[in-house]
């Protein structure tokens, strides 16, 4: 099989009537998306080398777009880059995960504060709908990655609704990394129903109008996740040193 321009052709099939502007994704973004999917889904293991030429050959492009995409993912924390050595799938320590969650708490608490001061607006309905989506995805027949992405989407909506784009931007920078750590563990809660319901108190607190209540609810939610993920990860670390 000759695989030149395979990405282009392959994806054209998925948007038969797509407008041109939607096609304006750019090869770099496409490569970045495929790479991050491969990493988060676990097809590329932590520590693994990302040879530019190998990836380029597999995707049917040249090395230049791969290089740019890799640097993009580096700023997302998914891969590391060492000069003259190349790119590697990032390997996280338990401490780094803990720091990641601490940072995430800082950002999201600040976003909640701002959201409460600016007013919920359309965000309230969006959050309610997202909880419904989480419940729907908790039913059998949905894979874990989809559930985790829906989870993150709930939190993304809050950063988005805060009104300060910096919080959203900062959130996006750690979102994929967070998804990766959860996927590495293999599970967050015992079942996805539980995951969905843990978001209800947050929305309730937001609707209560009390900034303190909202902050407390968000902090509790994230602090539980932080403890769960970090502890699970520490166990994982001990079993495979």
């Amino acid at each position: 099989m000759k695989n030149g321009a395979s990405i282009r052709d392959m994806e054209k099939l998925h948007q038969p009537d797509g407008f041109a502007p939607l096609d304006r994704e750019g090869l770099v973004d496409r490569v970045a998306r495929l790479l991050s999917q491969a990493i988060v889904s676990g097809r590329l293991a932590p520590g693994e080398r990302l040879s530019e030429s190998v990836v380029a050959k597999q995707l049917g492009t040249s090395r230049a777009p791969v290089r740019e995409a890799a640097r993009l993912l580096e700023s997302s924390g998914l891969i590391t880059y060492t000069p003259n050595r190349g790119f590697f799938v990032r390997r996280h320590s338990a401490t780094e995960i803990d720091n990641l969650y601490e940072f995430r708490i800082t950002i999201e608490i600040a976003a909640v504060r701002r959201l409460m001061r600016e007013g919920l607006g359309a965000t309230a309905a969006a959050l309610g709908a997202q909880i419904e989506e989480l419940r729907r995805l908790a039913e059998p027949g949905h894979n874990m990655l989809t559930q985790v992405e829906a989870d993150m989407q709930f939190h993304r909506l809050i950063c988005q609704g805060s009104g300060n784009p910096r919080y959203l931007r900062s959130f996006e920078r750690i979102a994929q990394e967070t998804e990766l750590t959860i996927m590495l563990i293999g599970r967050l809660y015992d079942d996805a129903h539980r995951l969905a319901e843990t978001h209800v108190p947050i929305l309730d607190a937001l609707l209560s109008g009390s900034e303190d209540q909202a902050v407390d609810a968000m902090f509790y939610h994230l602090d539980v996740a932080r403890t769960l993920v970090t502890e699970q990860f520490r166990k994982l670390e001990e079993s495979t040193p």
Copy 2:
């Protein structure tokens, strides 16, 4: 003059006895540094186009390193990138500046909290030395950019001492942007002596051992800066719409 490898040669002269590992900067980083200097110092005006080929020719390199450097600066907020259009020096609105400072406050307050819990350690002495440096640079004969950089260095030390590298990383991402906004205004305080002394209460509060006092001092310091910069910028905006 043939200007191939002109950067390489030019900068070799500045480190006559430097060890090889220090030379390990890479062409991309060098271009990024030169570009950011040009932007922050005002030699490249906001809104100005950054043609890849022009920059490449000026620096004596090819377009590839310029492209990578430009994307690096994009993630630092100094320039914007539009697909198929290219790179432009970023133009900030007063609202964006306000959001920038709000975000900065969030990060640095969190860093202060963590620093107080982990203990100051060697950071205390470093902060004291940095205040001395600020006083020294306040004497006549020093340009404003140097003073602003020293100011940022004080805050960088706090993020660094916090113990969570995420705060430092986040700080670095907005540091250059912050410097740019101050340089665009042309002044922060009436004189640099005043700038130096506003850092003393922060260090005092840190040394007091009280987390609340430390947070308050840092918040006051940054909130004053936020008001000053945003207001100045709004005036600037009105005079040149």
